[in-house]
């Protein structure tokens, strides 16, 4: 199946959770926030939130800005 991760198509060979997606993208342990189909998914729900085909996921972090 395919999801859209930060605006780019991203293929997954099975259904995974947001927590697994974080691991897969090498972001484990980073301070980040996730939006799934325009809704915030709290950190406490990353492990139990499973992705579906066509989902739009945004993973953001803090960078320098004024």
């Amino acid at each position: 199946m395919q999801i859209y991760l930060n605006g780019e198509a991203y293929s997954l060979d099975r259904v995974i959770s947001l927590a697994e997606l974080i691991e897969l993208t090498g972001l484990t342990g980073k301070r980040l926030a996730i939006e799934l189909n325009l809704d915030i998914v709290p950190r406490s729900q990353h492990a139990e939130t499973l992705l579906s085909d066509g989902d739009r996921v945004e993973i953001v972090h803090a960078i320098g800005g004024g």
């Binding site: 780019e8 993973i59 803090a62 960078i63 800005g65």
Partner: protein
């Protein structure tokens, strides 16, 4: 006599010793960012919220390591947002990122060339965010009527531009700022336009509650030194404002007594 060391900026019920707020963008590297922020003495520090780079530089240094949230009040901004909807989404992501943190800097921009605020979208976003429980510090034009609307809506601080973002043009319209300040019911901070220390001092002498800047420090030849200068500039301007300046006079008045002059 007013004691400047006891002076505090109160925003959303929290008292801050420093009236200088600084951004974290445009520095050479994270180390310089950290040193400049520290030298500025700022307690409130803005950050941007952006997509993570998937699959690139997994070990890149994290901004929040050099400006740790347990030491600084992090002020996430909505820079780069051109619609109310994107600004609201960004604030909600920031709140999740920062563990329920409510203080945000709302800015909804109109176009890339001027980065002028789109006040129509800003008003829409402010209304949603205030209802949603955010403490909104709002970047806006120096239009006194819009500033009044934003504070009536419940924004915790109104932050008119003094000049265009990143322009370093200084306080372009002190008269509008004065009108905004005269009727302010919440802290008014100059955000954007400051180019050098005297600009910050002028903003504070006008009676602004604080100054927010990024480029003026980050784009100085020596950012850490400029950060120190800005720290002093804001204090100087605040002190002069509280002290109350002498009246302007067209003609001279001697400082030395005329009595006893030799003939």
């Amino acid at each position: 006599m007013t004691d400047l060391s006891q002076d505090a900026l109160e925003i959303a019920g929290v008292r801050y010793r420093s009236r200088l707020l600084v951004g974290t963008g445009k520095y050479k590297d994270m180390a310089e960012t950290g040193r400049a922020i520290e030298a500025s003495g700022a307690e409130i520090v803005t950050v941007a919220i952006r997509r993570t780079n998937i699959g690139q530089n997994p070990d890149e240094p994290n901004l929040l390591d050099v400006v740790p949230p347990d030491r600084y009040t992090i002020l996430p901004n909505t820079a780069g947002c051109f619609t109310a909807e994107d600004a609201v989404r960004t604030c909600r992501l920031a709140r999740e990122l920062l563990d329920g943190h409510k203080l945000v800097k709302l800015e909804v921009l109109a176009d890339q060339k001027t980065l002028f605020p789109n006040v129509v979208e800003t008003l829409k976003a402010a209304e949603v965010l205030v209802k949603d429980g955010f403490d909104v510090m709002v970047y806006t034009s120096d239009d006194p009527i819009i500033a009044r609307e934003l504070s009536a809506m419940g924004c915790v601080a109104v932050m008119p531009l003094a000049g265009l973002i990143g322009s370093g043009m200084g306080i372009c319209n002190p008269w509008n700022l004065r009108i905004i300040l005269e009727e302010a019911t919440v802290p008014v901070l100059v955000d954007a336009g400051v180019g050098t220390a005297s600009d910050a001092t002028i903003a504070m002498e006008l009676g602004c509650a604080g100054v927010l800047m990024n480029s003026a420090i980050a784009h100085a030849d020596q950012p850490v030194l400029m950060a120190q200068a800005m720290h002093h500039a804001v204090l100087a301007g605040r002190g002069a404002y509280l002290a109350g300046r002498m009246p302007r006079k067209l003609y001279a008045t001697a400082s030395s007594p005329l009595d006893g002059t030799i003939r």
